[in-house]
């Protein structure tokens, strides 16, 4: 071994050791928000934060089904009791009135107790003698009606109807149905619970523990209720999705990389009939993958699970370089001699691939940028190892005799491939011709198609949410303020405006944090509106004049007013033990740099008018958000970005080809098969109403980046060269391995991996096929000259 060999091996070993060290300390993440853009608007930023660690992210919706309703009710109670004792959960609500978690009863009692601080129907006018008389007259009218029963119980303590004004506010809220004392879906087939975990939604390790505890508690609780033996647990919520996605990702990555490795190894073993060669062929792959993960870890501080999944493709791709080297080394020649011959083409191929993947580096998706960096590093290291290390590891008299067994047949096919030009042209024209007739839109418009959450889970989530009365919110008002009180004051100003809009039927209702926690100023103003005990007695006596009420009927009222007048005002901790605390925390929260209040709006008939009114109100830092329009716009942004990246990437590749081939004709010979492959792949993906997602778009870019390698080899090939057979054999073998790598990725459950995998597998194969069809005429010409 000469000195250069020793140096190359030393560099390689040091690199491997360094990579292993980095990978060993790498943090792996399964957070799918990495596939949200890096620089979202302030409103998006708030929503993403809430998705990651807000109250909503900590909620787990639980459904119990497949048993008779009474058994499910018992099971719900038993499960709730266990979960409440479980430190992983801070709040468990199943509609039971009693219990630590509280339920409707606890909430109602809280609102009742604090009605004089919470109710908008607490003003100085109402507590004058005239105001009280008016209220009592209305009470009398109500008592005589069939609705009388609704106020009869509360009347002695609340003749002014403070609580009615509050319950009216809540009337628009949908609440779960109750059956046998616990929450049920309206059809009575599913008992419902809501649990809030202690851990934040993104804290997958802790959420995993919480979910496991939930499952165990369910099994134990079910065992105590024989009638519920057949029952089934279904859970949903952001944390559940995160845990499922992570588990699926792990399973997919393990399974798919194993299958890819086995398949590629089997093919190599079959071709070369040498375990030693197999191991050597995998050396560049392993080195590349290791270096890729290490580079991503250094560049991003963490490695995403999807990036690891994408590593499957590297198995199929990086092995190509070793295949070119092994297969094109003829008996009697040495690998060292083969290298100079194929190196210029190999180098150009790698450069083109790197250009393609580089475009992904500029994506605003952290996820895509990671995939790009991983592939670039992986390919560069793999080709470098093939070029500088592998020849030194090969036996001195290495040659792969086997490759020529199929080679003559393959070469014969390639030489006759040009006969397919007319059919190929027809197919191409047909593919182009069907695009205008594509029905139902060419682009995937549904953002949920990009979601890693399977459609069935999304469906379960929607149905559980509808049952529990927590439907998806479309319109939001986001208010930012430097402190809590200012956020509440701004919210109160907006609430006034929204109440106006409700009475003008522009919207049917809204939810605001100030319904639960009014600003301190408002609460003090309400306290100030309450007269002292003596004054109230005098006014009430005057108000009762001429009315049939018993003179002492309203003693509870006098006592409650006195208590409310002297009592403390409400703040956030006052809500502990009620489910209102949960609601409040989801609508009012502290963030870096201040406080944020969310107002959710229902039943908008004219969103534009609402947006205008909000803007005109002059309330500072209030943003009106249409989540659906937002997500549609987001999809639009993602798509134009992907399209832009694909175009720029392709353009750079074209420039690279022009510079290195220095001939428009030769460039055309390389580009033509690529164009044909991309067009036909697109046609295949969209056939029968299929739609292109941004993952398909990225896949098309990678088709160009990967497929071009086969085109350059074909274009460069001198068909009179006796090495033609080996060249064709190596290309076919390399192509098979690449198609396996990406093809296996198409079995991944994550849409990002599935989308890219399917596209590149089809595209890479078509690139080779079209190269053979369009570029190999030189072969026939040469053949004809030979005797």
């Amino acid at each position: 071994m000469n000195r250069r060999a020793v140096a190359a091996l030393a560099v390689w070993l040091v690199g491997i050791a360094a990579s292993i060290t980095i990978v060993a300390t790498t943090r792996f993440s399964a957070d799918m928000t990495a596939f949200l853009p890096r620089a979202p608007s302030p409103a998006e930023q708030i929503l993403v934060e809430q998705m990651q660690n807000g109250v909503a992210s900590r909620l787990i919706l639980i459904g119990l089904e497949d048993a008779p309703a009474p058994a499910l009710a018992d099971l719900s109670k038993a499960l709730a009791q266990r979960l409440r004792a479980n430190p992983a959960f801070v709040l468990v609500n199943n509609g039971e009135s009693a219990g630590i978690g509280g339920g409707l009863e606890a909430d109602y009692n809280f609102v009742w107790r604090n009605r004089y601080l919470l109710s908008p129907a607490v003003t100085p006018e109402i507590f004058t003698a005239a105001g009280l008389h008016q209220a009592l007259l209305e009470d009398l009218r109500l008592l005589g009606s069939d609705l009388g029963a609704m106020i009869k119980q509360s009347l002695p303590a609340d003749p002014t109807g403070a609580i009615l004004a509050l319950t009216d506010q809540f009337a628009g809220e949908s609440r779960p149905t109750s059956r046998d004392g616990v929450w049920f879906s309206r059809d009575g087939r599913r008992a419902l619970l809501v649990a809030q975990t202690r851990a934040a939604g993104f804290d997958i390790a802790h959420e995993e523990t919480a979910l496991a505890a939930l499952n165990a508690d369910f099994t134990t609780a079910r065992a105590t209720i024989p009638a519920a033996g057949s029952s089934r647990l279904s859970v949903t919520g952001p944390a559940v999705f995160a845990v499922h996605t992570k588990t699926e990702m792990q399973q997919d990555i393990t399974r798919l990389s194993l299958i890819a490795t086995v398949l590629v190894s089997a093919i190599l073993l079959f071709t070369y009939r040498s375990p030693r060669i197999l191991v050597l062929a995998l050396v560049p792959v392993a080195s590349g993958a290791l270096a890729g993960v290490a580079a991503v870890s250094l560049g991003f501080g963490f490695v995403h699970g999807v990036t690891l999944g994408f590593g499957v493709t590297l198995i199929g791709e990086a092995v190509d370089y070793a295949i070119y080297l092994f297969t094109q080394t003829a008996p009697g020649a040495t690998a060292a001699a083969t290298l100079p011959r194929i190196w210029p083409i190999l180098r150009l191929g790698v450069l083109i691939s790197v250009c393609g993947f580089s475009a992904m580096l500029f994506s605003r998706f952290t996820g895509f940028a990671q995939l790009g960096l991983f592939s670039i590093t992986g390919l560069l290291v793999a080709v470098a190892v093939t070029r500088f290390v592998l020849p030194h590891l090969l036996p001195a008299n290495f040659a792969t005799a086997r490759s020529s067994v199929f080679a003559p047949a393959l070469l014969a096919i390639v030489r006759r491939a040009h006969f397919l030009r007319i059919p190929a042209a027809l197919v191409f024209v047909a593919a182009v011709a069907v695009f205008p007739f594509h029905h139902g839109g060419f682009w995937e418009d549904d953002l949920s198609s990009l979601s890693p959450i399977p459609a069935s889970d999304q469906k379960l989530d929607r149905s559980l949410r509808a049952d529990i009365g927590a439907p998806d919110v479309r319109y939001l008002l986001i208010v930012s303020a430097p402190d809590e009180q200012q956020a509440l004051t701004s919210t109160e100003r907006l609430s006034g405006l929204l109440n106006d809009l409700v009475s003008r039927h522009v919207l049917t209702g809204f939810d605001a944090p100030t319904r639960y926690l009014p600003s301190a100023a408002t609460q003090r103003a309400r306290q100030a509106a309450l007269p002292d005990g003596a004054t109230l007695r005098t006014r009430l006596a005057a108000a009762l004049e001429g009315l049939p009420f018993q003179p002492d009927a309203f003693e509870p009222f006098i006592a409650d007013v006195a208590a409310a007048r002297a009592g403390p005002i409400l703040d956030r901790p006052s809500f502990e033990g009620t489910s209102l605390a949960l609601k409040l925390d989801s609508l009012l929260f502290q963030r870096a740099g201040g406080w944020t209040a969310l107002l959710s709006l229902r039943g908008l008939t004219d969103p534009t008018l609402v947006a205008q009114e909000i803007a005109r109100s002059g309330v500072p830092n209030a943003i009106f958000v249409d989540l659906k329009a937002q997500s549609n716009a987001l999809l639009e942004v993602y798509r134009s970005e992907a399209l832009m990246l694909a175009l720029i990437g392709s353009l750079v590749i074209l420039v690279l080809l022009a510079v290195s081939l220095r001939s428009p004709r030769r460039v055309a010979r390389v580009v033509a098969p690529l164009v044909a492959a991309v067009v036909l792949t697109t046609a295949l993906l969209t056939v029968d109403g299929g739609k292109l997602s941004i993952f398909n778009l990225i896949g098309l870019l990678l088709t160009v980046a990967v497929g071009s390698n086969y085109c350059i080899f074909f274009e460069r090939q001198d068909w009179r060269d006796p090495n033609s057979e080996r060249m064709v054999a190596s290309l076919v073998l390399a192509n098979i391995c690449t198609v396996i790598g990406f093809g296996i990725l198409s079995f991944a459950r994550l849409p990002v991996l599935h989308g890219i995998g399917t596209t590149v597998a089809v595209g890479a194969f078509l690139s080779l096929a079209f190269s053979a069809i369009l570029t190999s005429d030189g072969g026939t010409a040469a053949q004809a000259k030979r005797p």
Binding site: R141, D146, L147, A149, T167, T177
Partner: protein, 198 residues
């Protein structure tokens, strides 16, 4: 709030039971019993009547009086139209209860309120002559004879008994003449019913 809704249904229960009373009874047999009373009631497919309702409330020095009409159509449609002193229309259709007052209509899904559901089912069972269902929710007592009977319904669910002590229905033959509802708090409602087209 569910609690007060249960109370409202108590009034309703009275109204429903009342409307059962306007079909001529068949002559009573000698061994008249609850089974036969139920059969007689079951024969009623539609009925209408006038009512006068007196509400005795602890809060008030004197009773509140209102009057109007009742209409029943088998199997599950009921209307109570109050005409004096203020117009108000209450209707039950299947599992929906709606009250129209001052030009506003409030609609409730009965199945969302299991306690109320129990009362409704009890009343429907009475009207339909379905003793099995009636006994699932109430302890049923019968006094008197076919020409003058008194049916007393005491809720068997303790939660509902906390609100309503009993519903007493007075009648002769298939006529319901009077319904007295006693609440746990001491308030009571006394409704007298006069048959005939409103």
């Amino acid at each position: 709030m569910p609690r007060s809704l249960t109370a409202i249904l108590m009034f309703l229960a009275a109204a429903l039971a009342a409307s059962a009373g306007s079909v001529r009874a068949q002559p009573a047999a000698a061994d008249w019993n609850i089974t036969q009373l139920m059969q007689q009631l079951a024969a009623v497919k539609s009925a209408s009547a006038h009512f006068v309702e007196r509400k005795y409330l602890r809060l008030l020095k004197e009773p509140l009086v209102d009057s109007g009409t009742l209409v029943y159509r088998a199997p599950d449609q009921l209307r109570k139209d109050t005409l004096e002193p203020q117009i108000e229309k209450m209707a039950i259709d299947g599992d929906r209860l709606s009250i129209e007052r001052d030009g506003k209509t409030q609609t409730l899904q009965l199945e969302q309120y299991p306690e109320i559901w129990v009362i409704i089912e009890g009343i429907r069972a009475t009207l339909a002559g379905d003793l099995v269902t009636l006994k699932r929710y109430y302890r049923v007592g019968l006094q008197g004879a076919a020409v003058s009977w008194q049916l007393s319904l005491v809720p068997s669910d303790p939660k509902i008994e906390k609100l309503i002590r009993s519903i007493r229905i007075f009648g002769d033959g298939a006529h319901v003449r009077r319904i007295v509802t006693d609440e746990a708090g001491g308030d009571h409602t006394d409704m007298t019913i006069t048959e005939g087209q409103p």
